[in-house]
């Protein structure tokens, strides 16, 4: 069985990252010939299961209790670790969010099982341990860039169960399986799982900010790297994005240098995007960055370096200083638009 730990948004909807994992979980479960189950912990969850069935979830496990909302580590840890012990999933997937990255390692520690953070791909395959002379069938391949993105590692947990992985939002694609998919809902008695000690951390206040920048859903992204040189030069990327009706993205190096806000970061440790058009300005194209944008429809690279790795995945390459080419693009667009 494959189990998805579902997160809730502020208005008690299933988070996108969890629905994306349901789609991936359904594919893995089909490959294994097994069920897909989803755990939802929160408060006032009436009818929440209906959001999950269309993604091919066979069983929704629901724990509805005020102590489970908003998210706190210990109550959710108590629930999820016991549910895993009772239901013995082969695979458990969670979002690589501030919730999943808080909860998953604690669960892996309690169950003494392996966990791979920030996977960019999940597959099923066989594994041979040559040192032990053992072979394993239908193992979860947990694939992620490693060591500064210079290599891609395939990680397996041959001996321990469940096999756990976290995945960032936007990395997997959310797809409806069947709007009439029939699943069942099991209500868990939260009181049976929660103890007094789980109250050791209390929430005093929460200030939730609306996401101001939404690059994930932008159909055109103008993105800048360290090669843009300054925050001021990023201004022209904003002008181009505004002209085209798009959003501005950035590499980790550009964010670290203070050229752009962290919410604009695209790549393995940022957002994964699939816009119609991606314009990469002064971006060399480290693998961590490409992992977050290589599924874009069309890619234009503007770079002074003809050998920049980004050019290899670009549909169009303009060799030149982005600070000169971008204003040319803006002018050409304004001249030609109807």
């Amino acid at each position: 069985m494959v189990l998805i730990y579902c997160e809730l948004t502020e208005n008690a909807q299933i988070a996108d990252v969890s629905l994306e994992l349901c789609t991936k979980g359904r594919q893995l479960a089909d490959r294994l010939g097994s069920r897909l189950e989803a755990l939802v912990c929160g408060e006032s969850l009436n009818g929440i299961e209906k959001q999950l069935y269309p993604y091919g979830v066979d069983v929704v496990l629901k724990a509805d209790d005020p102590r489970l909302s908003p998210y706190r580590t210990l109550p959710h840890f108590a629930l999820l670790s016991e549910v895993i012990r009772e239901r013995k999933p082969e695979i458990v997937l969670m979002g690589a969010t501030c919730v999943g990255r808080d909860l998953a390692p604690r669960i892996a520690s309690r169950l003494r099982c392996g966990l791979t953070a920030d996977c960019t791909s999940l597959e099923i395959g066989d594994y041979e341990d040559k040192a032990k002379g053992k072979s394993y069938q239908n193992i979860l391949y947990q694939i992620r860039p490693a060591f500064g993105g210079n290599i891609i590692a395939t990680i397996v947990n041959p001996e321990t169960r469940p096999q756990m992985a976290t995945v960032r939002e936007g990395v997997m694609k959310k797809e409806l399986k069947d709007s009439g998919y029939k699943g069942e809902c099991v209500t868990l008695d939260a009181g049976r799982y929660l103890k007094k000690e789980d109250e050791a951390v209390r929430i005093v206040a929460r200030e939730i900010e609306q996401r101001k920048i939404n690059i994930k859903n932008a159909s055109i992204i103008v993105s800048g790297g360290y090669g843009m040189g300054s925050r001021e030069n990023f201004g022209m990327l904003h002008q181009l994005a505004q002209a085209l009706g798009g959003e501005v993205g950035a590499t980790r190096a550009a964010v670290d240098a203070g050229f752009a806000e962290g919410e604009r970061q695209i790549g393995q440790t940022g957002v994964t995007v699939r816009p119609k058009l991606y314009i990469a300005c002064g971006i060399s194209g480290a693998v961590q960055h490409r992992a977050g944008m290589d599924q874009s429809g069309k890619i234009i690279s503007i770079n002074t370096d003809p050998d920049a790795p980004i050019n290899a995945i670009a549909d169009y390459t303009i060799i030149g200083d982005a600070c000169k080419v971008v204003p040319q693009l803006i002018a050409c667009y304004n001249k030609n638009k109807k």
Binding site: P70, T73, L74, T97, R101, D102, L103, P105, R106, A108, S109, R112, G114, L115, T116, A117, Y127, Y141, Q142, A146, F147, G148, I151, I152, A153, T154, I155, V156, N157, A200, V201, R202, I203, V204, A205, R206, E207, E209, R211, G245, D256, K276, L277, V287, D294, G297, K298, I299, I300, A312, I313, A314, D315, Y316, T317, I319, Q328, C332, Y333, N336
Partner: protein, 267 residues
């Protein structure tokens, strides 16, 4: 009032300043080419611990690292900034540890330090970016955890108040000690070393604990104690597209814009 504090620190290769010689020709990592630094978020964890000591000077801050003996340099750095004591947990038997085996060894070492009220550590190390060791140490010691801490607001008796930086905002939490706290990148920077402490600790050789010293179950250490195995490592191969080189001229850029408009990619 005083507190016993352990700060978990790590010496890491500076992956954010990777030069062209960072990878060997066979695709393995050329560690010698990477400078070793104090993991940035661990420095912020040290600062939070030192803030407790500022308020309660009788408190004792012990920094603890697992790694090779050359990690003594970050212990000395921590001592010069105000830590009281440093320990390196080092043994060839830890080799090949994944986060589970690492957190087990660290938890054993923390137990050996005796009584503790607060454990601080960086949210994650820049060489792995997993953010797993903190919560795993907390679980192994059966402590509650507060992750992504940004500000220490107050500490009185056995109650601490902290803010946490989340994906979509800030949360203020109150927690009962003992507790493990992981500190995030937006927390205050660590204070600088004191000149006299730099001199005082320049040659200090920290205590080194080997595997026997921390009384572990040996099969939970190193490669044996690590459920995750690396099946394979691939060099990054660029999927090559047959891209079009656009001449850097007004005319050619204009043509590109027009063709993108005709294809309704931009409108």
């Amino acid at each position: 009032m005083s507190y016993k504090i352990v700060v978990l620190i790590k010496q890491v290769p500076d992956t954010q300043n990777v030069g062209p010689d960072a990878m060997n020709a066979d695709g393995t990592v050329n560690r010698a080419a990477l400078p070793a630094i104090f993991n940035p978020e661990d420095l912020k964890a040290l600062e939070m611990a030192l803030q407790v000591k500022d308020k309660y000077p009788e408190s004792r801050v012990t920094v603890l690292t697992m790694g090779p003996e050359r990690a003594a340099s970050i212990i000395r750095d921590a001592l010069s900034r105000g830590a009281d004591n440093g320990i390196i947990v080092s043994d060839i038997r830890f080799a090949g540890s994944d986060t589970l085996a690492t957190s087990y060894a660290l938890a054993c070492a923390i137990r050996k330090t005796g009584h503790y009220d607060l454990i601080f550590g960086g949210r994650q190390a820049i060489d792995g970016d997993t953010a797993q060791v903190g919560p795993q140490v907390a679980e192994k010691l059966d402590l509650p955890q507060v992750t992504y801490a940004e500000r220490l607001l107050s500490l009185k008796d056995d109650t601490i108040t902290l803010t946490r930086r989340l994906d979509n905002g800030v949360e203020t939490v109150e927690a009962t000690l003992p507790l493990l706290v992981t500190v995030t990148a937006s927390a205050p920077d660590c204070r600088y070393p004191h000149a006299h402490r730099l001199l005082q600790y320049a040659k200090t050789q920290p205590e080194i604990w080997n595997a026997d010293a921390i009384s572990p179950e040996m099969e939970r250490l190193g490669l044996k104690g690590s459920p995750t195995k690396v099946k394979k490592i691939d060099n990054v191969v660029l999927a090559h597209k047959e891209g079009v080189r656009i001449e850097n001229s007004d005319a050619a850029i204009g043509e590109l814009v027009v063709s993108l408009m005709e294809d309704h990619i931009i409108g």
